[in-house]
Symmetry: C2
Subunit: 350 residues, 2 copies
DNA sequence: CTGAAAGCGCTTACAG
DNA sequence: CTGAAAGCGCTTACAG
């Protein structure tokens, strides 16, 4: 069989008959349109409840302009960061009667503008999503932003993004959070502080480094270029950075890793090199992902409300195409938290 | 705007006009139906290519019986295990022209049969998925299986499952894998081997323990009941088990943890208690998830092809409702691999 | 092997 | 404030 059994499901006509109104009135009630008497409205609602009527998504999206589907554009690599955001997005979609459709797109970074447009045109044409949700590593990509803008589809982005488009943005204050983390290390007496960057095409990498620089400068500390390491947001790049940093003639006493996975790699590298954390090296991360409480010692970091970020992104996106006026804020900043755990300690003079 | 711009997209009629055939013939070609001349078939295909025609999913699913959507029933807790399987499922869906719709369902375990049926009826009615994919912790649930069976929808399950329904099953040989792992510990000279169980409502827990028992018995070793610990497949339950095991009068020299997360917890507990791994305690896990290579020492475990499991599940499901005959295998067993890393060592006589 | 007609279940103009 | 008609873009019988 091709799927469905045949429960004699109620149709709009059945609801209309039971409520003693026209099918159009039922449609109006279902879509929360004005111009229906309260009395009729209630009759219809009762009938819907009695019949357990559920509108057919296909019919709605075929005739109307809405598909009640939002497409989440994902990079093929799955990470705890993306998965948690996606989780929040699914929750919000389910709550609001939308479907989240996941589109896996690898290597979008390497396409030309026209190729990008073609990819999105096909995607939009096929599923007709009402909106698109973007997160790292695609959230901050300008070509993607412009291609999507030309296609005229509503977009929401997650993460620190600096784009001239009018898309909705949901993020935390990465800059401020990076300052807090750096200040914490400075307050502990550290002066030679290393920084491990993330992927270079992501704005989070620059923003977090900017916060770090700001705090260092404000404290009158200079940033030693040899202590600024490249990274790619993953465990092994953190290990690499740690090994290099620790084998320096004049190693740092503290390291700011741009995310938790790299911080975990750093701690592992230090431990393997016989440098105790935090006594011999203080480490901070960013995200408060699962690894933060599973490693030993547990990681001092910034908690990002990833699930909430995903939920709010979906809510704002849906809100935006329900409100014609576009009155609501286009940029939402959620709260983060500094989480003090055990990878940081006062500088010990040796 | 409610989503779409208005690219003048080609419709079936346009393809038919360009190819000089009727719209019905186009439909036939698109759906790979027989009874079309090769010449016409090619004309249609050319026209489709030229016009970049993409059929509307809504129209198809409204008129036809298929929605080209598969619903993945997920438990609200997101884990690396589920996410990797889901990833494979998305990949396969995308390749085969289907959409994966994620349905988050918490606490399905506590519902009555009728409540379950109501939940699924609504879900099926709303999105009309062509099939449903189940994984832990719902894959092995009998009530869910029967409810879905009564609703007559095609189902695929992942993981070791023992059900009287005719659903498709995709799994690895958990039993055999557990024997390999246990035999490895026995070969290293261990005799007091502990076992940490997983969640009790999952068949994987029983099957892996059965493999462990089998290997122990075959080697003439007895299982000490005090060395069989409860667990819940997560890091902290592994830590707990480790602490209890290590504080025993006569602690084990090796532990079989039912999955990697618990194994990581065990290693952490041992390290914190001053017991070196693997010298003082050998540990094996199960899954080969991300944590296996991020912990130190790296974990000896069984590699489960999770992504492939997800892909194959989707492929077989789609295949099953395309083949009326249901000729293909209903149970697919994929290969696993024993991965020797550094958490296991020969028993040292102390 | 091919096609003209009907209809899936809704929403969109258009009347009243 | 309410309704009868038309139509979204396909597929399903039914003819030929």
């Amino acid at each position: 069989m091709a799927g469905n059994s045949e429960p004699k499901t109620a149709k709009m006509k059945d609801v209309a008959d039971l409520a003693g109104v026209s099918i159009k009135t039922v449609s109006r009630v279902l879509n929360n349109e004005p111009h229906v008497q309260d009395k009729l409205r209630n009759k219809v609602k009762d009938a819907v409840a009695k019949l357990e009527y559920i509108p057919s998504q296909s019919a709605r999206s075929l005739r109307g302009n809405r598909s009640y589907t939002i497409t989440l554009l994902c990079h093929a690599a799955d990470s705890s960061y993306s998965n948690t955001i996606q989780f929040g997005a699914v929750v919000a979609c389910q709550r609001l009667g939308y479907q989240l459709s996941i589109s896996l797109q690898e290597g979008l970074d390497q396409l030309s503008f026209d190729q990008l447009k073609a990819v999105f045109e096909k995607l939009i044409h096929q599923h007709r999503p009402d909106g698109i949700m973007l997160m790292a590593p695609y959230a901050g990509n300008k070509m993607i932003a412009f291609a999507l803008q030309e296609l005229g589809i509503d977009v929401v982005r997650i993460g620190p993004v600096d784009l001239p488009t009018e898309d909705i943005l949901v993020e935390i204050d990465d800059y401020g959070a990076a300052i807090e983390l750096t200040q914490h290390l400075i307050d502990l007496g550290h002066r030679r502080i290393a920084f491990v960057r993330g992927l270079e095409n992501q704005r989070a990498t620059d923003v977090r480094f900017a916060g770090f620089s700001m705090a260092m400068n404000a404290a009158g500390l200079t940033i030693d270029d040899r202590l600024v390491m490249p990274g790619s947001f993953d465990f092994s790049s953190g290990m690499d950075a740690g090994q290099k940093l620790l084998s320096l003639e004049d190693p740092p006493s503290a390291v700011f890793a741009s995310n938790d996975d790299m911080a975990a790699g750093l701690v592992t590298a230090a431990t393997m090199a016989g440098v105790p954390v935090p006594e011999g090296l203080s480490v901070v991360g960013f995200d408060d992902s699962a690894v933060a409480t599973r490693m030993r010692p547990e990681l001092t970091t910034i908690h990002q409300p990833l699930r909430e970020l995903g939920e709010v992104a979906i809510e704002k996106l849906i809100e935006s195409f329900q409100n014609e006026r576009k009155t609501s804020a286009r940029r939402i900043v959620l709260d983060h938290n500094f989480i003090l755990r055990n990878t940081t300690a006062p500088l010990t003079i040796s």
